[in-house]
């Protein structure tokens, strides 16, 4: 990991101290061989993977071979449409030796891929009780957020925009409410398309951002991974620095208003 993507403070999640607040994904890369360079450039320490049936006709392509050993794996339950399917996938992922972190995705809406809040809360309750560190993907709704906290989530992952769209922080106001009202860490997931948007989320007080498509679909994914690492770092530093006040209706000079050249003494 490069030192310039480390942050001024540490994010402790599921008992692990994280120096980087950027989480990355492994989907949609033209070749998985890009993943080590992307991971290194991003500075990220958390990376998502999905669990699927082996294609018996072509039994290759295990993505784990491309993931740096120091990274924390965050398997997702993508493909799950019900509580039972998500719980089943989570248990399989843990049995595969990938640790006990799980990103819950329960989606039965195939057009916008929006998460089912009620089912997600039920799966969170079951898996948290089994000792998983549960990170549920969710719509940024305060009541769903509270249900997820009560169910034992370690953090919540509100969407900025629908998955894979690169449309940015369309839910910005609602994410701001979650940051304000919830004590759980907020990890903005889905929809972030540009580093400036990740930076914005971090400036608002998000604990971390998860970015997959924006990096994987960039013309130069490695350079974009570095840009996201820097943007998330900058946003976090700005949040900690506390932004100055906003002045409306008039200007306020930044330079002294006295001692002009040729003026009176």
């Amino acid at each position: 990991m490069t030192h310039d993507t480390r942050h001024d403070d540490t994010f402790v999640l599921g008992g692990q101290a994280l120096e980087s607040r950027l989480f990355i994904g492994t989907g949609k890369y033209g070749t998985d061989a890009l993943i080590p360079a992307v991971a290194d450039a991003s500075g990220s320490q958390v990376i998502t993977v999905a669990l699927r049936r082996v294609d018996l006709g072509n039994p290759k392509g295990n993505v784990l071979a491309h993931i740096p050993a120091h990274m924390r794996l965050l398997p997702n339950t993508s493909g799950a449409r019900t509580v039972d399917e998500a719980v089943r996938i989570a248990r399989l992922a843990r049995a595969a030796g990938c640790g006990d972190w799980i990103k819950i995705e329960i989606i039965s809406d195939s057009r916008y891929l929006l998460p089912d809040g009620y089912a997600t809360a039920r799966a969170t309750e079951i898996l948290a009780a089994e000792g998983f560190t549960v990170l549920p993907y969710m719509n940024p709704d305060l009541y769903v957020a509270r249900d997820l906290e009560n169910a034992g989530a370690a953090a919540i992952m509100p969407l900025g925009a629908p998955i894979g769209t690169n449309r940015g922080l369309r839910t910005r106001e609602m994410i701001g409410i979650l940051i304000e009202e919830m004590s759980l860490p907020i990890v903005v997931d889905a929809g972030i398309g540009k580093p400036s948007e990740a930076c914005d989320a971090m400036e608002m007080g998000a604990a971390a951002c998860l970015v997959n498509t924006a990096i994987a679909s960039a013309g130069d994914p490695v350079a974009m991974a570095r840009a996201f690492g820097e943007a998330v770092r900058a946003g976090r530093r700005a949040f900690l620095a506390r932004a100055g006040r906003v002045l409306d209706g008039r200007a306020e000079a930044s330079s002294p208003l006295t001692g002009f050249l040729g003026g009176q003494a």
């Binding site: 994904g25 999905a50 993505v63 595969a96």
Partner: protein, 66 residues
């Protein structure tokens, strides 16, 4: 005997172990996770698990995802 692997019928001899079956499919047992008849099989049990007529196996591995 016949078993069902990831939805496909596979013919094999009686008593073949899960470990042998994985090898025949070209799979590294360290990279997969297996459900047999809906129950997760621990990796250390692959070599001792004799398969039976009608068994249904789900063999999964990790792929790219967000």
């Amino acid at each position: 005997m016949t078993i069902v692997v990831n939805g496909h019928e596979v013919a094999c001899e009686d008593g073949v172990t899960l470990l042998v079956l994985l090898g025949r499919q070209g799979l590294d047992p360290r990279t997969v996770v297996v459900e047999r008849n809906g129950t997760i099989v621990k990796a250390e049990a692959f070599g001792d698990m004799g398969l039976e007529q009608g068994d249904t196996l789900e063999i999964l591995h990790f792929v790219g995802g967000g």
